[in-house]
Symmetry: C2
Subunit: 186 residues, 2 copies
């Protein structure tokens, strides 16, 4: 079950052509602990970073996602600074979308007639990172990209897709995700 989830994710990120090379690396040809092309390593402590926004992906993937930022990224978002400063890192955490019968029973009992159901972050799929270094990554808009699953980076074919896919967001320094407002206050 876990292997199936991983393969599906990689199909989504690399396209069908990337599956063969992924299967090779999954069979033992590790890329080491730095992502190919950009050399980004898994940032330490990213689970403690602050929240930028929440997303959901539908289609052949059903995922809930959280975008977190290190201090430099959060500061830039809040102040509207573009481009992001060197040192900013944005993390995208991806989970399979899961649900619970008992949670939904509690919702139905608490709020009858509204048809409410909930889903939540289930199996941890992968995490992706954008690391700003305007000199080192000048050829890719100043960003280094990385994808990790269980501490291991994805393969080169996968990483070769990152920057072209982010090109449509050039006017936002290649970052799709916008900073979410603060419920309860705003």
């Amino acid at each position: 079950m876990r292997r199936i989830s991983l393969v599906v994710v990689v199909v989504a990120v690399t396209g069908v052509a990337g599956v063969a090379s992924y299967m090779e690396s999954a069979s033992g040809q590790s890329n080491g602990d730095a992502a190919p092309i950009y050399g980004v390593k898994l940032p330490k402590g990213y689970r403690d970073w602050r929240l930028i926004s929440v997303k959901r992906l539908t289609g052949k993937l059903k995922q809930l996602r959280a975008e977190l930022g290190n201090d430099l990224a959060i500061k830039a978002y809040r102040e509207g600074t573009l481009p992001f400063p060197d040192g900013a890192i944005i993390a995208a955490l991806h989970w399979d979308e899961d649900s619970s019968v008992s949670d939904n029973q509690a919702l139905a009992a608490g709020f009858p007639g509204l048809g409410l159901e909930s889903t939540f972050a289930g199996f941890a799929v992968n995490a992706q990172f954008m690391v700003k270094d305007s000199k080192k990554y000048a050829a890719s808009g100043g960003w280094g990209f990385a994808d990790f699953t269980k501490g291991k980076p994805g393969d080169e074919a996968l990483h070769a897709k990152c920057f072209p896919c982010h090109a449509p967001a050039k006017d936002r320094d290649y970052v799709f995700t916008r900073y979410a407002p603060t419920p309860g206050t705003e």
Copy 2:
């Protein structure tokens, strides 16, 4: 448009019977800045708290949600401590689910054939809080509950529903949300 969203939310949280009293408070009868019943005020700095998990609500509400915890709550979650210690606060941030045509065009171009579309946290709806104080809130499982919209607490009818609705999660100290694993590492 914004007023409609607020009313829909309150219908969900209070049930139909709560709408009339909500409309009264929306027309100027403010409850002040402390939530009724429990006296909880809007916690400072909760937008900076660390992520517990991500959720989605469907039915008559379409929301993306983030659950954040203060340091005591995060520590208890990570160590599996139940009941939560006094001082722990859990925040639930609720947004309307939104989408972007240009985001979806970028997904379709980057990952053809997968039918991928994304949604993200849009309009900020409300935030809800659980504050642990085992003595002060002994009658409600040790938790004080609060709901805020744009800095103003919801009414008493709304808050009267909080604890009964959380009763099914008694074996998890009345907390429904579980701590999400860490994608990229786990």
